[in-house]
Assembly symmetry: C2
Homo-oligomer: 411 residues x 2
């Protein structure tokens, strides 16, 4: 089913808000075999009508986000009614629900919120449990499926699960098998292609193989049918890349770490300097992480490295806070204090503005501590602050993963 | 200057990679007075040519990201050459630079990487210091400015600063004044419009006022010229909304917290349970935060709340870990142990799967501790795990901001 997404919102085009809709919606659609062919972002206003008109000419399923709010720049309802040649009708039950929502919070409903109770004739109302504007489902002149959905992710995402997915499942035919998907760490995109593509082409000369390089890692997507081909390609990737293959499927590095720790019954803790809480944050994004993640220390100040982790102040003075010695002592300190089976640490120069010739921005030491080994690794990563933190967190999570694999093998 | 952005990459349309290009590029363009009119994401392949053709018909500046890699699905260079009717020429110096890059890492350059040294005739080469594929700058048939840029943000973002921004500055006329911009917390979008819009319209009846609701907060954008009007609108927003106005301009909540703490010379620490490191991560994303942020404790397990923060186990047993008593004790514990002037804590039920009737998923207690006051706040937030963590972190940062404002006023 040809599918397009239209995101409206001047704040998206001004860069004030990160557009997370495409990713969220596309991942859910992929689960039911629907690929998005095109996504477009347009400003609030007339451009919404033009974009809808273009998409309806090409696609059978069109999802529009944003522009359903109560303010003067929210025009999606009007544009859709106009484009489809429908008048708008008033839904008393929607207004009641909105009014109740304000009442529950002890607020009086501002009058202009009432515009959200109007909808193009024939639209199915999709309830919004997390905000005021309901979503709308319409059938186009040529049978296209049209969804108008609220812009805030906190409203759109639950509505997508509760209303859009069930409607789509009822519309769709059987989905094709999902492409094979591999995530590798520490392997370059070119080397990956050079090693694996001829093998894949021997099964499927025209497969649209996808490579996606991200900082320090690469994804490989292979849309191939047939159990034999799939099995052989899977085995080949495994034998070629070994431990560098960290996920078969869409698992993130933090999900792999939590899954391995859970399976082995091992607990995890982290001591973070330069990553500043990002590793703990990524681990605790994984549902169920509380069963294996004991906690962590964010030790930005040297005094905190001493107090929270017992790193000797003489060691910091001699080697500097960004050193293999301190990274190891941090990992050891958090392991000992929390009693975690596997522990890791980060200490580095995130920049900008800090850093010296000897210890430039981008330098990072990672420490690891477990029953199997205590070690530190030196890395030179990106120098842009947030990329640096992300890449350092990814390296630490990969180290935790490798430690857990070793512990699993030693059992 | 009419501007469009084309992002290519099947992984973006499959949702496997979050598209951060629009936000990054749009923010930088806004700084030089350029607004993006439209952004489109298309898959790798022929669709790139179609999208470029459409954009070149509408826009004077077209930025294309992605599809410059070495693999078989990277076709942007070919599509651009074909569309503009140019042959491709080989750049020996580019190939040398790529080869050296591999050599420095002790690797042999895979042969297919050489395709990255070819470019449409007349293209200006934009060096890539963080990857292999150079960017390309071309002039279209009708004088349009065309940039072909690499897809990975770690390559695109530095190239944008080093090459694209200087080129654009040399092309552009004088930019108009930036719109007024306000960020408010705890104020609804409708109420904001009801209170402020008539006042703004009295100066500029047709101003394209923008409202953007995000979890627990709202942005207001007012594109008005004239120093008098701007000054009066600024004053009106301040008097109407007081402390709820947390930023004039694009500062984030964490940037405000770091700025206030720096100005007052106060240190900050956090103790996180349900936010799992996100607050510390957001604070440490701010350059210069190391001067005021001492560190934090991520205390997921109850045993860690006791060990790291001295929360009495009897208190946890009596009131539960998610309670005002424990939130306050956590904030007090981290303040006392780190010696921070201002401290805060989070403890809540992130879900999914946990939670009870009495303490449902989404329940959160925040604790605060400073010389001025020790208190806790109860909030019921979103129930989706990552939204919950974000909203809880925002509430804690807002509490830290308000505490710092009080400390500043008490001086």
């Amino acid at each position: 089913m040809k599918t397009e997404i239209i995101n409206t919102g001047t704040e998206l085009l001004l860069g004030q808000t990160l557009n997370t809709h495409l990713q969220h919606i596309a991942l859910r659609l992929a689960d039911i075999g629907v690929c998005v062919q095109r996504q477009v972002t347009v400003p609030d206003g007339l451009a919404i009508r033009e974009a809808m008109n273009e998409s309806l000419a090409r696609a059978e399923l069109v999802l529009v986000t944003g522009g359903l709010g109560p303010t003067s720049d929210d025009v999606t309802r009007d544009m859709a009614a106009n484009l489809l040649g429908r008048k708008k009708v008033f839904h008393g039950s929607v207004l009641e629900k909105i009014r109740e929502r304000f009442l529950r919070r002890g607020l009086v409903m501002p009058e202009q919120v009432a515009v959200q109770a109007w909808a193009p004739e024939g639209a199915e109302i999709l309830p919004n449990d997390c905000g005021t504007a309901p979503g709308l489902y319409l059938i186009g002149r040529e049978g296209q499926h049209i969804f108008l959905l609220p812009g805030p992710p906190s409203e759109l995402n639950p509505m997508f699960e509760q209303s859009v997915m069930p409607l789509l499942r009822s519309i769709l035919p059987e989905p094709p098998p999902e492409p094979l998907f591999f995530r590798l760490v520490g392997v370059g995109e070119s080397l990956l292609q050079e090693k694996i593509e001829p093998f894949i082409r021997s099964f499927s000369p025209d497969a649209e193989i996808g490579y996606c390089a991200r900082p320090g890692e690469v994804d490989l997507r292979v849309p191939v049918c047939g159990d034999d081909a799939r099995g052989q390609i899977q085995k080949k990737v495994e034998s070629l890349f070994g431990d560098a293959l960290y996920a078969t499927g869409h698992e993130s590095m933090e999900e792999v770490v939590v899954r391995l720790a859970t399976k082995l019954g091992k607990t995890v803790a982290v001591a973070e300097s330069c990553t500043g809480g990002l590793i703990a944050n990524r681990i605790t994004n994984v549902p169920g992480s509380s069963a294996v993640f004991l906690g962590g220390a964010v030790v930005y100040a040297n005094s905190e490295k001493v107090r929270q982790l017992g790193v000797p102040i003489e060691m910091i003075e001699k080697h500097g806070a960004v050193s293999g010695e301190v990274a190891e002592a941090m990992a050891h300190g958090i392991a000992e204090r929390t009693g975690a089976d596997v522990a890791a640490s980060s200490t580095g120069v995130a920049g900008p503005g800090s850093g010296t010739a000897e210890k430039p921005a981008g330098l990072c030491w990672l420490g690891f501590c477990s029953a199997i080994e205590k070690k530190s690794l030196r890395k030179h990563l990106a120098t842009e602050r947030e990329s640096f933190k992300y890449m350092a967190s990814q390296q630490v999570l990969d180290g935790l993963r490798r430690t857990l694999l070793m512990l699993g093998a030693a059992k």
